[in-house]
Point group: C2
Chain length 222, copies 2
DNA sequence: GTTAATACTTAAGTTAGTTTCACTTTGGTA
DNA sequence: TACCAAAGTGAAACTAACTTAAGTATTAAC
């Protein structure tokens, strides 16, 4: 099954839309994600359905077949391994890697990915805390919770983000909130739901509810 | 100047044809190298000439403009850096890397190449002994000679190959002739111009004239 | 110098992926 | 239960890169 880059991007879009939504992906949802027209999507989805990568019913939306899902997970694996490489080996910041990984993930060589994985030491999660599927396609579900679900004095470790936009990641960098950082929750201010965080270096930062909802954490020693 | 992968491949083909031939590249030479029809080449070369990347005169062949050459050298640089990475970091053999590097070289991110170069320690030549252009596009010409131009008892170091085909590289692997290997020339057999080589591990191999012409070497301590 | 073979270009048509625009289906609201 | 807005589809047309087929230049041969 030799797919074009475009076809691969459609599969990946389907994967992301269906795994957070769970229902079939609507034509518009796909066109929005890929920044293309709805008509292009109709067209392409039909072709992917012909190849048995997608299950599609007119006017009802589409989702990945088993075959399509396997390919999509492979792409996610490649993307996240390259992101890890870029940050861990080449010294990119976590907010700089998405676009480059987007290109690297389309390089076709199973051998390359196996060797890269080994070279990187079989990492379990990418620089944004998202899990890296293993060679068999298994994804280790990390039981992470939003920071906003914890209480004052809880000690937490930053494990991931649910918003990977460049803007948000740069904001976190500037506040010293990096992956793996240990933080202790301070007081919450009820009037706007903002919250104090105490960092390891004794500094204190105040984050908005939006930020607290986008940070995925685990309790220290759990 | 955002070029398609295809356009980049044409520039690279032009670069290779013109630097070993030196004259303008003929339409057929290009079509042979890219395994495409002469008509496609005429078409594309015209378009590249419109973009001022190629100097083209109908029926007279084409060569790279200054701008085109800069881009082509950049591609060669990327290709060779990736080949070095694949062999040195990921553990590929030198006969396995060409095709993968062919894909990786089209990834667009100047930042990526700068950081990769640094990560690799600014290597000067790729796994086949070809020089890697630096970030400014300068190519360090290695003054290498064919093994066939040396005489009995000369002690040589294998520095590169002028034939990078998978078949040839695999043959060299099997004979224990790796880049950097030290060899001492033995007797030459006049009837078919084959020649004995003494390896460091005391083994002896006999190579054909064709092989002796394809091995690039330097004298020990020169 | 004419001719034949080779090299090259042009023209027309193909394919993948796109767009725009007009039409159809769906589903919520009254 | 009928209607309308939103969502989705189909058709036609565009672009990049390709092909084949046919025609034009160049070169080599005599």
């Amino acid at each position: 099954m030799n797919l074009s880059e475009t076809e691969e991007n459609y599969l990946k879009a389907l994967y992301y839309i269906c795994t957070d939504g769970d229902a079939a992906a609507s034509t518009n949802a796909i066109s929005a994600r890929l920044e293309t027209s709805a008509a292009s999507v109709s067209d392409m989805i039909k072709r992917l359905a012909d190849k048995d990568l997608v299950i599609y019913e007119k006017y009802k939306g589409a989702f990945l077949s088993k075959k399509g899902k396997t390919i999509a997970v492979g792409l996610v694996r490649k993307h996240r391994l390259w992101e890890f490489f870029l940050v861990d080996k080449l010294g990119f910041r976590w907010d700089q890697v998405h676009e480059v990984a987007e290109q690297l993930e389309h390089v076709k060589s199973p051998e390359l990915i196996l060797k890269l994985d080994q070279f990187l030491g079989f990492p379990k999660s990418d620089p944004h805390g998202d899990p890296i599927p293993d060679a068999a396609g298994n994804i280790q579900r990390l039981a992470l919770r939003k920071l906003s679900s914890f209480s004052e004095n809880d000690e937490l470790i930053l494990m991931g983000v649910s918003d990977s936009s460049v803007e948000f990641l740069q904001y976190l960098n500037q506040q010293g909130l990096n992956l793996g950082a240990k933080v202790k929750l301070g007081s919450k201010f009820p009037f706007d739901q903002s919250q104090e965080l105490h960092l390891e270096n004794k500094l204190k930062v105040v984050i908005s509810l939006h930020v607290a909802n986008s940070l995925l954490v685990k309790k220290v020693n759990s």
